[in-house]
């Protein structure tokens, strides 16, 4: 057999140097430079506005134009934008170079007779809009690039950015870290629901399945399934699970319409899925979860904590900028959504649902929400 995928994805010296530089650039732009915008607001924009209007701005809509005139804010935007392009360019160099070897590995696994787990692709799956045609994070080609062949460019770019962030030691955007290990999530689940001993687990919007693999390691006895809209992501997740000798099952499916049987899972999770989804879709997914959960089953989600009542005006304005300019089209919709009400609408009772914030060191935190259905 050929080299495993993780052995194959190795940036060479120049690629690592460039990627390390981009990691540092992002850290400084999203950290110190963004902090300067906060200071500018406190020291100048807020006092000036308050003097003129007799009260501070009440929403990001009121405050936005104050920022947009400032050189510092414009510079920040320009630098965020370019650092994102540099991210794709430098990771893309590695992806372009190793794509063929990764494809070869995946094809060998696809064709193998002694697999532990399974992969079910669904070429006919209709991609819901607007996500189907959006380049999230401005990833070149988007999540569904080369779907006809289930080519691996999009999952490799996704994997490469996670590697870049991990390698940039001490990287922190001053916000939520984007990925969270399966073990850490499992611990949060058992803290909240000490009796959890899942036998059948589903990870929705599992991407390349990093969290999913952690859950399987934590609960090795459980049957673990992951689903995602993107066929290329599922093919990559399957390859990585087989490479790690973990028995796992991946499905190209819409989380809102899975086709699994009623009451067939006792733990359903997602990580940063819901901020890429929107109003009706969000409730539809939750309704599907309600249908799939067996009595006493747990629904547990981790997502971004940027709800307007949690963050100050400057962060609301910078987040809004990311939504408009940096491929985070659904953030605003998500953080403005009343998640408790959405869970209620999907049929979860008051005693069943929860929404909470979890501190995660420094200024970081996570937004947790979900439900445990009645036994």
């Amino acid at each position: 057999m050929s080299k495993t995928f993780t052995e194959t994805y190795q940036p060479n010296k120049e690629e690592s140097s460039r990627q390390a530089f981009v990691g540092t650039l992002k850290k400084c732009v999203n950290g110190a430079l963004e902090q300067k915008i906060h200071a500018l607001y406190e020291e100048k924009l807020l006092p000036e506005y308050t003097e003129q209007h007799g009260k501070p701005p009440e929403s990001r809509a009121e405050a936005k134009s104050l920022f947009e005139k400032e050189h510092l804010f414009q510079l920040w935007g320009s630098a965020v934008y370019t650092s994102q392009d540099l991210l794709w360019e430098t990771v893309g160099d590695t992806v372009d170079r190793i794509l063929e070897s990764a494809e070869q590995r995946a094809s060998e696994i696809d064709a193998s007779d002694n697999k532990l787990g399974s992969l079910s692709l669904n070429q006919e799956l209709e991609l819901p809009e607007p996500i189907g045609s959006t380049e999230i994070h401005r990833q070149p080609g988007g999540y569904f690039f080369d779907s006809e062949k289930n080519g691996l460019t999009s999952p490799l770019l996704y994997y490469g950015t996670i590697q870049l962030y991990t390698a940039a030691k001490g990287f922190s955007t001053g916000k939520t870290k984007d990925t969270f290990g399966g073990h850490a999530m499992a611990q949060l689940i058992t803290q909240r629901f000490p009796d959890t001993k899942p036998t059948r687990i589903l990870d929705m919007g599992c991407g390349i399945g990093a969290l999913t693999r952690g859950l399987k390691e934590f609960w090795p006895e459980a049957e673990v399934h992951g689903l995602d809209l993107s066929g290329p992501f599922m093919r990559c997740a399957h390859m990585m699970a087989e490479d790690s000798q973990l028995e796992m099952h991946f499905h190209q499916l819409d989380a809102a319409k899975t086709g699994f049987e009623n009451n067939s899972f006792d733990l359903i999770v997602s990580q940063i899925l819901f901020h890429e989804t929107w109003d009706e879709k969000l409730v539809e997914i939750m309704q599907e979860v309600k249908r799939l959960l067996s009595p006493g089953g747990v629904f547990f989600n981790i997502d971004v904590p940027y709800q307007p009542d949690r963050i100050g005006i400057p962060s609301q304005v910078t987040n809004d900028w990311q939504v408009i300019n940096n491929g985070e089209p659904f953030w605003t919709g998500f953080v403005d959504t009343n998640i408790d009400a959405a869970l209620a609408k999907a049929g979860f009772d008051e005693q069943e649902r929860f929404t909470d914030y979890q501190a995660a060191g420094g200024n970081n935190s996570y937004f947790l929400f979900g439900a445990q259905v009645a036994p």
Binding site: F21, K27, E89, G92, D96, P140, G151, N325
Partner: protein, 100 residues
């Protein structure tokens, strides 16, 4: 995009897509600052390249394998720390130039 229609475009090609142009964010770009930064970067790159040529040449002359060995090298923790500190200092100085 790629010439051959059946050939999947590389990421490098996707990045050159004419739709991916950067919108204007800065209303009044201060060209003096931009010149500062470009020249500083050019200087640093030139210094590094000169120095690297010497290392590669010396390494080859002394039978240490030159380029091949360089690709196979793994930095230890203290070198990694040193490099990451140096990178961060460079970025901070650039951002200082641009925002002051």
């Amino acid at each position: 995009m790629s010439k051959d229609k059946n050939q999947t475009p590389s990421v490098a090609e996707l990045m050159l897509d004419s739709q991916r142009t950067k919108p204007a964010f800065i209303t009044n770009p201060n060209m003096d600052q931009v010149v500062d930064v470009v020249l500083r970067l050019a200087m640093e790159i030139s210094v590094l390249r000169d120095r690297m040529d010497i290392y590669e040449k010396l390494s080859e002359e002394n039978g240490f394998g030159g380029t091949e060995k360089i690709e196979a090298f793994t930095a230890d923790e203290s070198l990694q720390t040193k490099q990451s500190e140096r990178r961060e200092k460079l970025v901070q100085r650039i951002l200082h130039d641009l925002s002051s």
